[in-house]
């Protein structure tokens, strides 16, 4: 059985129901709507992002559904990301945040986790300037402001 998902820019995407239901939001919508064939509008997700999300769900369609763990401590989880997922996440940083937003909206927890891990891995170990380069951020601090913040947070610099 297939469903039709409609992106915010009005593009239709035909996907298998099983794939679409990796998104808990869509799964719940389908349950509510029942047997109807009407397309599902996703006003928060553009076509470009939806393409990527569907690609992820297709690849992971056979993964066991994650049961929410009792201890959801991210620090305890290992930091290794699957190779396919790593390649999948090699996008520019705008798309990266868009994917995370979409995964959050659509309630696809594994994709959200991978996205967050990826962002964290980009940030780790970088100086502020390196972080700016990685995320295309303009520095809007004066040198004095930046030095002041550094002074205020020196207590936390113990590695």
């Amino acid at each position: 059985m297939t469903v039709i998902l409609v992106s915010s820019d009005n593009q239709d995407f035909k996907v298998d129901k099983e794939v679409a239901e990796r998104s808990i939001l869509i799964k719940n919508m389908l349950e509510d709507v029942g047997e109807s064939d009407s397309p599902i509008p996703l006003p928060n997700v553009t076509a470009a992002v939806l393409t990527k999300v569907i690609e992820y769900c297709e690849h992971h369609r056979n993964d066991p559904v994650q049961v929410p763990e009792e201890t959801d401590d991210p620090r305890k989880r290992s930091n290794d990301i699957e190779e396919w997922d790593m390649k999948f996440m090699q996008v520019d940083q705008e798309m990266l945040f868009e994917i995370i937003l979409a995964a959050n909206y659509l309630d696809i927890k594994p994709l959200l986790d991978v996205g967050c891990k990826t962002v964290a891995n980009i940030i780790k170990g970088k100086t502020p300037e390196e972080i700016r380069k990685a995320f295309n951020i303009v520095n809007d601090f004066t040198p004095e402001e930046e030095a002041q913040i550094k002074k205020e947070n020196e207590w936390a610099e113990d590695r």
Binding site: L101, F135, I137, W155
Partner: protein
């Protein structure tokens, strides 16, 4: 064009939680937008626990230079961002003062969690005024009206003469009362180290029989770690119990002396009268059978839902006739079988196999049963269930989700041993072994809600209770004492466990025939794709009583130890570091 600050806060937290504090200090300097996102998270948790002799310092060295800098950068920052701090862990007294400011703006007033370990008391005699550290603690408690969790610990005390002890103790009472009065009514959990020595007989000071305390109506969890129970009926423990009407969980640390000094009636009476909602009890320590029974019987009318008994019998008592948890205590526990949902026994081998079987046959609400080793190297015993008892009768605990218990006395299949002319003829045949193992598996399969199954409870270094290890090359390492041998193999009846759909964590151990074999491996991936095999070294923690964080920072020496408020201006940093 999505940017970082577009992410919802809960998503930002997922990312931030994976970053080290050092990374966070870099993130706040990236841009104004990033500063707004990351600074509150950076300041949320302020952790200054350190042991000068150990490597567990976090922020200690940097904190020192920061707070002592001539431009007052540290204090200014604390004034500016103190309100962002929600978790505060502080080790030394002088530091605590820093978080108590006179200004309203920026003061540290939004704490949710406070963990305070006192430093070492100074050698100089204390004066009769309130020591500055206690004043700081009192003030901090008064200005944090949303405090949810408070942990107070005394570290290593001093070995000093009797006279000094007396004077400190006198001090203690008044300061105890001061900070107890300051406890905010928002408090939900309170963990206290109230260990003080009973070696000195010098003090005659009596605690007042009643003292005004705020009613802590939100307090649901009270943990006394290291309580030495002398005068338990008069001391702050009982005083506190009287003002927690909604208390649900209580942890007590007991010592052998309890029996001679406790006013038992009073203690039981207090619990029954003032804590009607008490349903979870943890007892840690060593005491007599009668005393364990008394404590278990002390519950209010509801009946215990959760019992954790951690018996710490020192090795020296093994031959001295002091029995510890035994028949009376077991009976007391079993009386609550109807209401019990969680039972955890650490090293209580006095709760014997028959008792375990009886529990499993009568506790219809039981969700968790753990019979494990205690912490520490003295604990070489663990309660366990013998195969003979297990197969006697049906279990009623069909709600069981977590089962961790040694199963022993399983006849050992002799086919695993190399042929040995001198083999003991009383060794059971393989047929018998497999028959018994199948029965055990069938019994385990009735636990349809099981999520965790651990029947191999060896310590990582201890093979005493493990099965005989048969090596691939035919050699073997024979265990000294036990006839364990629940094999994780299909021959033994493992297959019947494939119906346990909720199972996620397993340790069965057993003979190397089993999960090392191909057939079992295939079986495992087919029927148990979500099951994780617990490695031998991983210890099963108590989900009801999480370990007290950083307890390892406290030295548990037998030296005289004082409640936290004894310390009087200990300076963590040398010379003139006392900043105002």
């Amino acid at each position: 064009m999505a940017v970082y600050s577009d992410l919802p806060l809960e998503v930002q937290e997922k990312i931030q939680a994976r970053l080290s504090q050092y990374d966070l200090t870099n993130c706040v300097r990236v841009s104004h937008a990033w500063f707004t996102c990351f600074n509150p998270y950076l300041w949320r948790s302020f952790n200054l626990c350190l042991r000068p002799k150990k490597e567990t310092a976090q922020g200690a060295a940097h904190f020192k230079t920061w707070i002592q800098a001539s431009d007052n950068r540290g204090q200014l920052a604390l004034r500016k961002y103190g309100h962002l701090i929600q978790e505060l862990k502080i080790r030394c007294c002088s530091s605590l003062v820093l978080f108590v400011t006179q200004d309203v703006d920026g003061s540290c007033c939004n704490l949710r969690e406070l963990t305070f370990y006192s430093g070492e008391a100074t050698m100089s005699p204390v004066d009769s005024n309130l020591p500055p550290s206690s004043a700081a603690l009192v003030q901090l408690l008064q200005q944090n009206k949303s405090l949810k969790s408070l942990t107070l610990f005394a570290e290593k005390g001093l070995r000093i003469g009797k006279k000094d002890v007396f004077r400190r103790y006198v001090h203690c009472i008044s300061t105890w009362l001061q900070w107890m009065e300051a406890l905010p009514e928002s408090l939900e959990t309170l963990t206290l180290d109230t260990w003080w020595s009973d070696r000195t007989n010098n003090f005659n000071q009596e605690w007042p029989t009643s003292f005004p305390l705020p009613v802590l109506s939100r307090l649901h969890s009270l943990r006394f770690i290291g309580v030495k129970d002398r005068r338990l009926n008069n001391d702050p423990a009982l005083g506190l119990l009287k003002v927690c009407p909604n208390l649900e969980s209580l942890e007590l640390s007991v010592g052998w002396n309890l029996e001679t000094t406790l006013d038992e009636e009073s203690f039981v009476q207090t619990l029954r009268e003032f804590c009607p909602k008490l349903t979870a009890l943890k007892i840690e320590g060593s005491s007599s059978d009668r005393h364990f029974a008394l404590l278990i019987n002390s519950c209010s009318v509801q009946g215990w839902k959760s019992l954790t008994i951690g018996e710490g019998r020192p090795r020296s008592w093994k031959n001295s006739g002091k029995a510890g948890f035994g028949h009376l205590a077991s009976e007391a526990l079993l009386k609550h079988a109807g209401t019990l949902e969680h039972v955890r026994l650490q090293s209580c081998d006095g709760f014997n196999s028959a008792a375990i079987q009886q529990l499993l046959c009568t506790a219809s609400q039981l969700k968790r049963f753990h019979a494990v080793f205690g912490n520490g190297t003295d604990k070489v015993v663990a309660p366990g269930l013998s195969a003979r008892d297990l197969v006697q009768s049906d279990w009623v605990c069909t709600e069981l989700e977590s089962f961790a218990c040694r199963i022993y006395d399983i006849p050992r299949p002799d086919n695993a041993l190399p042929s040995d002319a001198n083999a003991d003829p009383t060794l059971h045949s393989m047929y018998e072994s497999l028959r018994v193992q199948k029965q055990i598996y069938e019994r385990l399969a009735t636990l349809t809600k099981l999520r965790e199954l651990v029947v191999d409870l060896r310590n990582q270094n201890d093979r005493q209770f493990g099965p005989t290890m048969i090596l691939q090359n035919g050699g073997f390492i024979r265990d000294s004492n036990e006839l364990d041998g629940l094999s994780s193999s299909l021959d033994s009846g493992l297959d019947v466990l494939k119906s346990l759909a909720a199972l996620r964590t397993v340790r069965i151990g057993g003979l190397p025939r089993g999960f090392w074999e191909e057939a079992e491996q295939r079986w495992r991936w087919k029927h148990w794709p979500l099951v994780r095999m617990l490695p031998p070294a991983e210890y099963f923690e108590d989900p009801v009583w999480p370990p007290v964080p950083d307890l390892h920072l406290i030295e548990s020496t037998p030296a005289v130890m004082f409640p936290v408020v004894y310390c009087s201006g200990y300076h963590d940093y040398d010379t003139d570091s006392e900043s105002d």
